[in-house]
């Protein structure tokens, strides 16, 4: 992958949430380039706009003004279905709450995005390789998320994020619900994925976690400082 390619570009992006008590400016004229293969940590206090930034990159939301290009596409002009396909095929999500689907077992949770993309089930060789790469033992595969520890659940979530082989991984406080030792394991895993070429954008307020990133930005009151 070309290290120079700009995979995400914010050009003067603002995000304003209209509320009855007055508009809330979550992002205030942000411009930012992120290159393929970067490991970026977005830091800042609560309410600073860092989650909004991540949601925009994740195509879960669109800018109020300005332009946001993801893989060359201006997401403000895309339909809901196009945004969904962009998430499905090019972006992997890792949440603080893990957000596995409780009804599905480990294997099915990992297969799910693949099913959405390919319209058929079944764990391919690539999928099995991913499960091994994130360090999940085979006997766990038929367990439901409720039967797993937090660290195991987050590994499943990372496997799920990787299964469609996306270029971009988004992690929102990936270690926020884990103890330090388990969190370290998860961060090592993310660092490994970054070395294998994934662009990782991570939101955290923990400086030690941010150490794993190769580039860090601070957001305060919706502006990059």
């Amino acid at each position: 992958m070309n290290e120079q390619e700009i995979i995400i570009r914010f050009t003067d992006v603002s995000k304003i949430y209209p509320l009855p008590a007055g508009d809330v400016v979550a992002l205030d004229h942000v411009s930012l380039d992120i290159r393929a293969g970067e490991f970026l940590a977005i830091m800042g206090p609560s309410g600073s706009g860092k989650s909004t930034l991540l949601n925009l990159i994740g195509c879960l939301d669109t800018p109020t003004s300005g332009e946001l290009y993801i893989k060359g596409k201006e997401i403000g002009s895309l339909s809901d279905d196009e945004l969904t396909r962009l998430r499905r095929d090019h972006i992997g999500f890792i949440f603080q709450q893990f957000n596995l689907i409780p009804l599905l077992n480990v294997l099915e949770n990992v297969e799910f995005p693949h099913l959405l993309k390919e319209r058929r089930g079944g764990c391919t060789d690539a999928c099995m390789e991913i499960l091994r790469a994130v360090g999940l033992e085979d006997e766990l595969l038929t367990h439901t998320p409720a039967e797993l520890s937090g660290g195991q659940q987050q590994r499943v979530a990372i496997a799920r994020a990787l299964v469609n082989d996306p270029e971009i991984l988004l992690a929102d406080e990936p270690t926020g619900n884990l103890d330090t030792k388990t969190g370290t394991g998860i961060m090592e895993l993310l660092a490994t994925m970054n070395r294998r070429g994934k662009t990782i954008i991570m939101v955290t307020h923990d400086p030690r976690i941010a150490e794993y990133a190769r580039r860090r930005i601070q957001i305060v009151d919706g502006r990059i400082v």
Binding site: L60, D61, N99, L103, F112, G121, A161
Partner: protein
């Protein structure tokens, strides 16, 4: 793993809830199908009872249904008759179609040691063969003092041709037993004694005139003409007679049955709608509970229509399961309800014996009810499914 099996698992997650909403559909489908089947069976039976009456015009004295007392008041019925002269005028108006004046009265009947009251019908000996069929024995000859007995009377008193019965104390030989005729609009001889009219007037000397006149119009096209000419001749100044024809009565009866059928179907439909509301409720709860899960699925790449499909599948599974079980119950239950209804409607007769409970229309009713059940479920699932698919991923993820 497909969306369908995913939906199935979601339903299994709350077995009691799923079971209850399925139960609602089962009851609704069962109600609509079995009530439809029952209505249809009654219709079939009615058609079977009435079909062989043919095209008959019955002329009754106007007062029998009119001015004095309430409808069916026995005094008015007994009092009113059609005199011989009017019968002749009717006969002329009938234009060559068989015109049969009928007299009726009640008499005390004795057979062996048993006895009771029975209807006595007086007819011209020549009019009997075209109107009534014999199951055994012979018709009455001119001037005969014998009688014919209806099938139920014969059965009750164990009579056959050659038996003797007492009518108001006078002994009369039984010449023959009549075929079962059923509910007719003209003559109902099944529980009656038929004698010649000369014999009848001997037994009831106070009787002057006839109770009603029957015209057998063999050509259905001519019925309206015959009715009009009788009306012109008899009712020019005052209403002297009432004129009805069997087809008109049949139409009215069919209308009553059709209305009853619609009413029964309506009750079934209401219960299905209630079942639909319960599915709606279950689905809305299901969507509300799983908002976060929907958000996760949306963020990892599930399209709006896929989320919608997932919830529609759930409604479809509930509706399909309920309809299939309800349909199966309807086959069984509809059968028993129909049999019970037939027994009530045909108590004491043999008409129920040959009646079919399931014809193609009954099966159509069951299929219709099942289809309606599935449709109701899908309709009930539509709104929650749409609601689920409409949420933005961020809203949904926040729960």
């Amino acid at each position: 793993m497909t969306f369908f099996s995913f939906a199935l698992r979601n339903l299994r997650r709350h077995p009691a809830r799923s079971l209850l909403s399925t139960l609602g559909i089962i009851i609704g489908v069962f109600a609509i199908a079995s009530l439809g089947v029952m209505g249809n069976s009654i219709n079939l039976l009615a058609a079977g009872l009435i079909a062989d009456v043919g095209d008959t015009v019955v002329i009754t004295p106007h007062t029998a249904l009119g001015d004095v007392g309430i409808v069916g008041d026995p005094r008015t019925v007994v009092a009113a008759t059609i005199p011989e002269t009017d019968v002749e005028r009717i006969r002329r108006a009938a234009g060559g179609y068989l015109t049969v004046p009928v007299v009726e009265g009640a008499a005390e009947l004795t057979a062996g040691n048993e006895g009771g009251y029975a209807l006595v019908i007086g007819l011209d000996y020549a009019d009997i063969p075209p109107l009534l069929e014999l199951s055994e024995g012979n018709y009455l000859r001119p001037g005969s003092r014998s009688c014919l007995v209806g099938v139920y009377l014969a059965r009750e008193y164990d009579l056959r041709s050659g038996s003797r019965i007492g009518i108001d104390g006078e002994t009369a030989p039984v010449a023959g037993v009549l075929e079962e005729r059923g509910f007719a609009f003209d003559i109902n001889p099944d529980y009656a004694v038929v004698v010649t009219k000369e014999r009848f007037f001997e037994m009831f000397p106070e009787k002057a005139g006839y109770n009603y006149v029957v015209i057998r119009v063999t050509d259905p096209e001519a019925i309206e003409g015959v009715k009009a000419s009788v009306e012109n001749l008899m009712n020019r100044r005052d209403d002297i007679v009432d004129i009805v024809d069997s087809r008109e009565i049949l139409r009215q009866v069919n209308e009553i049955y059709a209305t009853m059928g619609r009413f029964l179907l309506g009750i079934g439909a209401i219960s299905l709608v209630i079942a639909g509301v319960s599915i709606l409720n279950v689905m809305i709860i299901s969507v509300t509970e799983r908002i976060r899960e929907i958000g996760v699925m949306r963020s990892i790449g599930a399209l709006r229509r896929e989320i919608m499909l997932l919830f529609l599948y759930e409604a479809l599974i509930l509706g399909l399961a309920g309809s299939l079980i309800g349909g199966a119950f309807s086959f069984i239950g509809g059968y028993f309800i129909s049999v019970a209804a037939l027994q009530v409607f045909t108590a004491g007769t043999t008409f129920g014996e040959g009646a079919t409970v399931f014809d193609s229309l009954s099966i159509a009713y069951i299929l219709f009810a099942m289809g309606f059940g599935v449709t109701t479920s899908m309709a009930a699932g539509l709104y929650p499914a749409w609601q689920a698919s409409r949420m933005t991923p961020i809203e949904a993820l926040r729960g």
